[in-house]
Structures are given as structure tokens and as C-alpha cells.
């Protein structure tokens, strides 16, 4: 009886793993985020008031309000589907936001509505985590070194600026999104939204300094469509 159950389970697993790759994975929207113009010069951060953080850097890190790469690539842009995709239940894996060297890793963290958020402090100093939510609840919690992660979730979509009042140079963003189709542009400005079922979508790109842009795209079958965004950079 028991052996039979194990055998059946094994067959089930094999069947699923054989079917999975054969299933059409849907279409993909990919592209590149660039800027034109002169972006604001990022300033070195003076961490001398927090020696435990300052000593982690040989050259002082710079602010991250605009992070760029080669060939006018724009980093840290949240690309997501703002219309056309149904709202999705949150994944069980927590989104992790780490404070290290008095900076936020990652600088922009995207996760889903009602997905668990874990905030860690890997520094030897206290931070206070203060997400300045306007649509969601605004809270502000102290997190001394060596204390457990702060766990929370947000129940509405919002781009929430995050700051630490003790270390005024620390700025980040929580991008709370309604579905799992999102990406954050990397150092080459590239992004990809795979596994999109056929349909008409509005793709929106959000940048913390340059705002939002949207484009409509229609996906049929397993095609890959290229959608690119160019933001106008302001020098100040």
C-alpha cells in the first residue's frame, strides 16, 4: 500500500516534469531603458558621522538618485504591466531588503501586494526604517544591530520612498506591484518580462527621479517583442 503510494507520487512528479518544458511559455517583452541629456551628477556620500559604515569603503559611495551605465543605459527603472494582466496572489517567498554599509541593497526593491517583506540590518549601527507610504500604512521602526528582521507586507500598489532618519543619505524605494510581471533594469539598461500569455498590455517604466512612461504592446503566441523607453535626463 505504502510502496504503491510512493510509486504513484514518483510517476506524478515525472509526468509533471515531462509536461512542463513542453508547455508554451508565452511571449516576452524585452528592451532597454536609456536616457538622453545630462543626468544629475551623483555626489559622494559623507559617512564620517557613522565611522562603522565609512570604513567599509575605500572610496566613498555616491548617491543613487540616477544610476547610469555605458551607452546611456539607465539602471533601477521598474518595468511592470500596469494594465492587461490580472492581479495575482503573492508568492510565498519573502522580498528581502538589506541595510549594509549604511546603504540599501537593493536600492529599488520590487515585490507584490501582500508579499512578505523582510528588512535586515547587517550594520554595526542602529537604523530606523521609515517607508513614507501615502496609500499604504506609514510606519517607522528602529532596528539596532543584531536584531531579527522586520517583517511586514503592503496591501495596496504603491511606489514608497524609504528612508533612514538617522542617516539622511539613505534613500530607497519599495515598488509594491499587483502582479508578478515586473523587472528592474540592470547596469546595461536591459529588462525582460517573460511568460506573458497572449494579450494586450500596457507596459510602464518608473524611475525615481524621472517619473513614469507607458507603452501599449500586443503579444500573440510565444513571440518576443521589443519595447524601449528613453527618459529625458535633467542635470539638476
Amino acid at each position: 500500500m505504502r510502496i504503491k503510494n510512493v510509486f504513484l507520487a514518483g510517476v506524478a512528479v515525472l509526468t509533471v516534469s515531462m509536461i512542463m518544458p513542453a508547455r508554451p511559455s508565452g511571449g516576452t517583452v524585452s528592451g532597454k531603458i536609456t536616457y538622453e541629456g545630462t543626468p544629475a551628477k551623483q555626489k559622494p556620500i559623507d559617512m564620517s558621522k557613522e565611522p562603522t559604515c565609512a570604513k567599509q569603503y575605500t572610496t566613498p559611495p555616491t548617491t543613487e538618485t540616477v544610476v547610469t551605465g555605458a551607452n546611456n543605459a539607465l539602471e533601477n527603472v521598474v518595468v511592470y504591466i500596469s494594465a492587461g494582466a490580472p492581479d495575482e496572489a503573492a508568492p510565498s517567498k519573502a522580498a528581502v531588503f538589506t541595510q549594509k554599509g549604511c546603504r540599501y541593497l537593493p536600492h529599488v526593491l520590487a515585490f507584490q501586494v501582500n508579499q512578505e517583506l523582510e528588512v535586515m540590518n547587517e550594520d554595526q549601527t542602529s537604523h530606523n526604517i521609515h517607508p513614507l507610504a501615502k496609500i499604504n500604512r506609514e510606519w517607522n521602526k528602529s532596528q539596532p544591530p543584531g536584531t531579527p528582521p522586520i517583517v511586514d507586507k503592503y496591501d495596496k500598489m504603491e511606489f514608497i520612498p524609504v528612508k533612514c532618519n538617522i542617516h539622511p543619505w539613505m534613500h530607497g524605494t519599495f515598488a509594491v506591484l499587483k502582479n508578478s510581471h515586473y523587472a528592474i533594469s540592470g547596469s546595461d539598461g536591459g529588462f525582460a518580462l517573460p511568460n506573458l500569455p497572449a494579450g494586450k498590455y500596457t507596459i510602464t517604466a518608473w524611475h525615481e527621479s524621472y517619473g513614469e512612461q507607458s507603452q501599449d504592446v500586443t503579444i500573440s503566441g510565444s513571440e518576443t517583442k521589443t519595447v524601449s523607453f528613453t527618459f529625458k535626463a535633467k542635470p539638476y
Partner: protein
């Protein structure tokens, strides 16, 4: 039997929405029940000049219109009741305050701001205002007030308790904003802004004013455990054990050098405490008393 149960169920279902809508227009402070309709009359007589027509904290006393549009009259923006983020709460950070919390702010006023004490109104008036304030934000329709944090009975005051509180003040880095002597002059103090990007000052314990949210040890306990939402002051509820919290309360009292509290008297009676308090009173300069910067 079954049918009567069924009827009872239907009755509850029908009554539920009525009950909810009634609650939204009401407040309950002890035995007094406030009514939003009556509160509305009072709001548009006493409050809207600062808190605004819609309750969003942008009344004309805060930000005048016309040629003075860019220079606010008040140095702290009046509370935005639409956002419903309140400083003085007995509830955890990020949650709505209780009716009693808002009522207490009306009674006390808010020290170091333009919000006066509304002690001249009757208990009923204030309860009515609380009921009306709760109609100004959508949040009250979908959320309940947070659960009041548990404040255990205050343990006996001892020198050890004050000394331990002093260690916590250093360890939890309260001094980063409030300064090593609690004068509101810590290394981060000058950079602080509230959630509207307005500059804000940390509390100066030596200054002699009351706390923003009350005067008692019990109030002080709640201030750092709940945090003052909308300001840089965070909640320490997850990182301070209740018995430690009381030690911190006892130490913080000794920083109020112009207020002769039992804590200050006891502290000044010790050699260590007498030296520190003397230096704080005379010089007002950092004593370097155990603060490793």
C-alpha cells in the same frame, strides 16, 4: 429551534452594515459618546483655519494664499486628518489611534507646536470632534484602531534602573538625534525632516517643556514604544523588552534637569549622577559621559 436560529442569523446580517455605518459617525471616550454631526459644527468653527476645509492640514493659517503663498505661517504643519497618521497613540506604529488617543491630544494640545489645549470645550464637544475627525479619512472605513500596547506596571525606581537606562540610551543610539545629554543636538539632529519633508527638531530633554504626547512616565513609555508616526521618531516596541523600557524611562527623566522628578532626585543623590547632572546644568556641553562616538 432551527428556524429561530436562521432568523437570528438573518437579523445579524441585516444589522451588521447599520452597525458599521453608525460606528463611523461615532466616538467613545469612557462613558461619553461623540456624534460626528455635532463635531462637524465645532470643526468648522474652531479647527478648519489650520487643519483645512477638507482636514488635510492645509488651512489658510498654515499656508496663506496669494502673495505669501510660499511662506507657511506655522512652523509645524497641522495634522493631516485625511492621511490619518497620528503622532500620539497608544497603538503600534502604522495603526490608527484609539478615540481616547485623539481625545487626549485635544485636551493636552501639542507642545512646541501651534496646537493649543482645547480644555475650554466640554467633554461632549471633544468627543464630538473626535467622531467628526474620523469621518475625514477613508482609513477609518476599512481599518480599526490598533490594539493598545501593553504597558506593564512600573517597577520600583532604583539607581540600578537609571544606570541601566543610561546604557540603553547609548546602545539604542537615542543620542544620535537627541544628543548625548538629551539636548536635541545629536549628530543627526540638524538633518531631520518629517514625512512632509519639513524640518523637525528632536525633543530637548533639558529644555523644560513637556513631552509631545503627555507628561507622565506612562506617556513616556508609550512615546518610544509606539513611535511618533509621521516624524523621524521610530517605534522601539520590537527591540526593547518591557522591563528595559522602564529603565529607559527612569533615565530619560534625569535628563530633564530643570524638572525635579523623583528620578532626578535619586540620581543626583549618587556620586556619578550628581557629577553628570551638575555638568549638564552648568555647562550644557557634552560631558562625554559614557558615550562612545
Amino acid at each position: 429551534m432551527n428556524i429561530s436560529k436562521w432568523f437570528a442569523g438573518i437579523a445579524i446580517l441585516l444589522a451588521a452594515p447599520l452597525f458599521v455605518s453608525a460606528q463611523q459617525g461615532e466616538s467613545h471616550i469612557g462613558k461619553v459618546s461623540g456624534n460626528a454631526g455635532a463635531g462637524k459644527q465645532l470643526y468648522y468653527r474652531y479647527c478648519w483655519g489650520c487643519h483645512g476645509f477638507r482636514g488635510d492640514g492645509s488651512g489658510e493659517n498654515w499656508m496663506p494664499t496669494g502673495s505669501f503663498a510660499s511662506s507657511p505661517y506655522l512652523n509645524i504643519q497641522p495634522r493631516n486628518f485625511v492621511a490619518a497618521t497620528f503622532k500620539c497613540r497608544s497603538t503600534p506604529t502604522g495603526t490608527l489611534p484609539t478615540d481616547q488617543d485623539i481625545y487626549n491630544s485635544l485636551v493636552r494640545g501639542l507642545t512646541n507646536s501651534n496646537m493649543p489645549s482645547w480644555i475650554t470645550l466640554t467633554d461632549q464637544n471633544r468627543a464630538d470632534l473626535v467622531a467628526f475627525i474620523k469621518t475625514l479619512s477613508e482609513r477609518w472605513k476599512t481599518e480599526k484602531a490598533g490594539a493598545e500596547i501593553n504597558v506593564p506596571a512600573e517597577p520600583a525606581l532604583t539607581v540600578q534602573s537609571i544606570q541601566h537606562g543610561k546604557e540603553l540610551f547609548t546602545k539604542l543610539e537615542c543620542w544620535k538625534c537627541h544628543g548625548p545629554e538629551g539636548r536635541g543636538d545629536g549628530p543627526s539632529a540638524s538633518t531631520l525632516t518629517d514625512s512632509n519633508d519639513q524640518p523637525i527638531r528632536p525633543y530637548n530633554f533639558a529644555g523644560g517643556s513637556r513631552f509631545k504626547c503627555g507628561t507622565t512616565n506612562h506617556d513616556l513609555y508609550k512615546i518610544f514604544m509606539t513611535g511618533l508616526d509621521g516624524t523621524p521618531m521610530p517605534s522601539f516596541a520590537d527591540v526593547i523588552k518591557p522591563e528595559d523600557a522602564w529603565d529607559l524611562v527612569h533615565y530619560l527623566r534625569t535628563l530633564q534637569v530643570s524638572h525635579k522628578s523623583p528620578e532626578l532626585v535619586l540620581w543626583e543623590g549618587t556620586k556619578e549622577g550628581a557629577e553628570i547632572v551638575k555638568a549638564q546644568k552648568l555647562h550644557g556641553t557634552p560631558t562625554g559621559s559614557g558615550v562612545a562616538q
